[in-house]
Amino acid sequence: MAAKESSLLKLVLTLTLVSLFAAAALASVYVITKEPIAQSSQKKKSNAIQAIIQSYNPETGHIQSETVNIEGEEEPITVHIAYQDETVLGIVVETYTNKAFGGRFDIMVGFDVEKDIVLGTEVLSHGETPGLGDKIDKKKSDFSIQFNGKNLAEMNLKVKKEGGEVDAITAATISSKAFCDALERGQKAYLLIKEKLNLNPEQAASEPNNNEEVAL
């Protein structure tokens, strides 16, 4: 009996010690890597903005970041507005979907404010299957390029199988539909921010004055 009890104690002790050590190791690595990971994800985002809005020059222009809340959704969407002096070069929306094969993925969609068309998309992070769903990234396939130059409001964002206009990735229909879901969310956020900034091309010149009058 005594031998058994001491061995039980030993089991509990060893397991506790190993777990404690593992937890401590993980916690310290997390603390060490937190800053570099945040930096590299920030860098990735600014590179993505640069890649989408090619006319943006980080030395002379500036980026204004805002968040918008889409009705009926909890998570606010971050939107980056790229400026050159006072002209808006484009709007980049950080959108996401929860309907992906790997749960969630985050993409950036850039819009041209004058023509309301998509300038480009960049994948920030995803957990789709290598070789199938990861083709949402334009480095892997031409899937995402089909949206460039399109006005999403006028486009039927469904895959062809379901009567829409989107050419789905072969064998990755779920990822393709999830991509459309993210684009739809991006489009909503884009329209909201555009309304907020009063960026309608015809009114752009007169609007600021109106605002001032209202403020006075």
């Binding site: 089991l11 190993v18 937190k34 570099p36 957990g127 789709e128 299957t129 199938l132 990861d134």
Partner: protein
């Protein structure tokens, strides 16, 4: 057993995927192309070598009854640390290997080698075993990936093959194709071994 044979036995004789039939989940899921096979193989090799060394270090203080939970804690901790370090300091590598790293936690080759080899052998031998098994796993993934990419995508390492491009057999990049190729490669390995 000589040091060299500890390494080389993983290549064919005790190939983890083709002979021991371990780690079939990643072997089927990520082998749609050669590149993915190489990525998964190398990431697993790295984790295998280090986890084998750790398990071997701990083998004297590990009570037999709780060895499996301890192995799992060590492996999972190790994979998470590798994941965080790569994301933080080598973002370029995280881009290409990031998808595979979380898959390694559930790869039973790592647990299998901890149980079958590292818990009974010294640190250096365990390291060699991890290296050999990792290379064997990579070889298997590259073979399966090559066949699937040529037949299913008409290319190899992303480069198009003149006749195959346009005549792809799509099923080979889908799940059933993975099973077909896997089955045939195992059969061929067996036939080769019997000689």
């Amino acid at each position: 057993m000589s040091k060299l044979s500890i390494v080389t036995k993983g290549f064919i004789k005790e190939n983890p995927t083709l002979v021991l039939v371990l780690g079939t989940c990643p072997a089927l899921a990520v082998t749609t192309s050669v590149e993915n096979g190489i990525g998964m193989g190398l990431a697993t090799t790295f984790v295998l070598v280090l986890s084998n060394m750790f398990i071997s270090l701990l083998r004297k203080i590990t009570p037999n009854e709780v060895r499996i939970p301890i192995f799992i804690v060590v492996i999972a901790t190790f994979v998470s640390i590798v994941d965080l370090l790569i994301q933080g300091f080598v973002p370029a590598l995280a881009e290409s290997l990031g998808l595979f790293i979380p898959l390694i936690v559930v790869n039973c080759i790592v647990l299998g080698r901890a149980e079958a080899f590292a818990s009974k052998n010294g640190v250096f031998d365990s390291m060699l075993d991890g290296l050999g098994m990792g290379i064997g796993f990579t070889i298997a993934l590259v073979i399966i990936g090559t066949i699937r990419e040529i037949l299913g995508s008409g290319s190899i390492l992303g480069y198009e093959i003149p006749f195959m491009k346009g005549n792809e057999i799509l099923i080979f990049v889908l799940a059933p194709g993975a099973f077909f190729v896997f089955g045939y490669v195992i059969a061929l390995t067996r036939a080769f071994q019997k000689k």
